[in-house]
Amino acid sequence: MTHQIGALSPTAFLVFSIIKVLVVFTVWLVIVAGLTLAERRIAGFIQDRLGPNRVGPQGTLQPIADGIKNFVKEETVPAEASKAYFLLAPMLSMAPALVTFAVLPLAAPLPTRWGLVPMIVADIPIGILFVMAFASLGVYGLFMAGWASNNKYSFLGGVRASAQMVSYEVALGLSIVPVFMLVGNVTLTKVVWAQQTGFGWWLAFPLGLSFFLFVISAFAESNRLPFDMPEAESELVAGYHAEYSSMKFAMFMLGEYAHVTTSSALMATLFWGGWDIPIWRGDNMVMTAAGVVTGAAPAWWKTLLTLGMFFAKTIFFAFVFIWVRWTVPRFRYDQIMDLGWKVMLPTALGYVSIIAVTILALDSFGVTFGSFLFGGVLTVVSVLATAVFLWILDNDRLLRGGSAMRQDRLESRRHHGAGAAAPTGAAVGQGD
């Protein structure tokens, strides 16, 4: 069923686009600022404290106070720093993170007197590829900061940032390949539409393992605990931004929280139906052409409801980010690399093959795409794959503690000792 609302005239399109850019950018920045407060308050609650609650009611004005403080603080540039790169780095870490919100569908299209307004800043066909491309630009900011500061700790932080982000970029990209295989499109509006009607399931169910891998990679990509190797304050002072002060430092912080927000919004969009409200069918609609809606009839209150749904999902995942950060300690560097290359990458690859084979099999058995059986079989396959993955993760000691490594070391030394000089072997035997 399609509804002809009428396309926007070029002038109206321009005006609405400008309004959308301004509003979404502002709201996004407010959310990012709010996250800095939420992080500190939730951290407080988790540690049985109260967190900052003195500026404004329940501390709500704290981000503003922080902003003012950061603007009036002294800007320092190390004497030996490479000035141009030093200034460029904070911009490069913040801007790409903020740009990505442009392609996220925020709500159901809004019918107005001037025509149908899509609730997305730029509904570009390459959607998620754009997000991936810009999200991976963030590493340049971090590495540049580390390099330009001319400080060994910053440099180490930068090196870690680049190594880690490159490693997890691979897993991140591979983890969303099954989404594209199911949806058949990389446009995010189409991904949402497929979850509403075309495929009919929120993809977190038929692609559970993908979601799990995506979450882990997203944590690594946004350099949050347990993956905050680039910062690692106990080892590297403050990592890549150790030499930064005032607003330049704040821009790194904003960049991190913008990454968190974007990642949360992506989790919601790719795997949890985007702005889709579960069960209710009245919001299942997509803009197929300018001014033409397929599915339910659009209405302003539906736009508001779906907008609320989208933000609820996004904020929930942002909360999970914060929750995990204040629960787990940091990985060791080799554990991060092990997890990235030896666990995430093969698992993601294997999962892509499993899903591909399942889809092919379902197709050749004549199961219609979008039927309950199709989604059900995929869900069962996914649950099994996840169970196997978790079982392996649990039992095969893929992520091991230091004592397990010590055991390995002793075993290998004993093994060598048998072939080599006898005293060595004997000494090791006693030592153990």
Partner: protein, 165 residues
């Protein structure tokens, strides 16, 4: 093996990071929603002070507004931080009184010896700690300022009740 090295045997199998993470998340969630917070909302709530807690000085005054101090000079003598400046004076009746009595709260180590040594119970350390200022000069309290303090004073140690019970 070297002396006193203790090898801690940690589990080497079934040490799943994932399981531990989920367990930890349950724990942190429990703490997050728990209403028992240990934070003291400082400017609104204040920690209880012990009766012998020593803080900002206070000079006791007579009913007619004169300081009780008789300018005997014991407190600047006993003061280990040398933070009390006293210039004694004498009126027509031969009563000694302080012309200048200043305490540098920055130098003071709040040992309370001035209070212990005072023969007329004039100078006291007190139950007050909120004495931040914008300049260093403001930390030198003169006589008027010491007399204007109105916080409770510190209880002296009582030998018959050594633990203040």
């Amino acid at each position: 093996m070297a002396i006193n090295v203790i090898t801690v045997r940690r589990p080497e199998r079934d040490t799943s990071y994932l399981r531990a993470t989920l367990k930890g998340m349950a724990l942190t969630f429990k703490h997050m929603v728990s209403p028992n917070k240990v934070a003291l909302e400082y400017p609104d709530e204040k920690p209880p002070l012990s009766p012998r807690w020593r803080g900002t000085h206070r000079m006791e005054v007579h009913a007619d507004g004169r300081p009780k101090c008789v300018a005997c000079g014991l407190c600047p003598t006993i003061c280990p931080a040398n933070c009390i400046r006293l210039v004694p004076g004498e009126d027509d009746q031969g009563n000694r009184y302080p012309i200048v009595y200043e305490i540098d709260e920055f130098r003071c180590i709040f040992c309370g010896m001035c209070q212990e040594v005072c023969p007329v119970e004039a100078i006291h350390v007190g139950q007050d700690y909120e004495n931040s200022e914008y300049t260093r000069e403001r930390f030198v309290y003169d006589l008027d300022r010491l007399m204007a303090q109105d916080h409770p004073v510190t209880a002296l140690w009582d030998p018959s009740d050594p633990l203040s019970e």
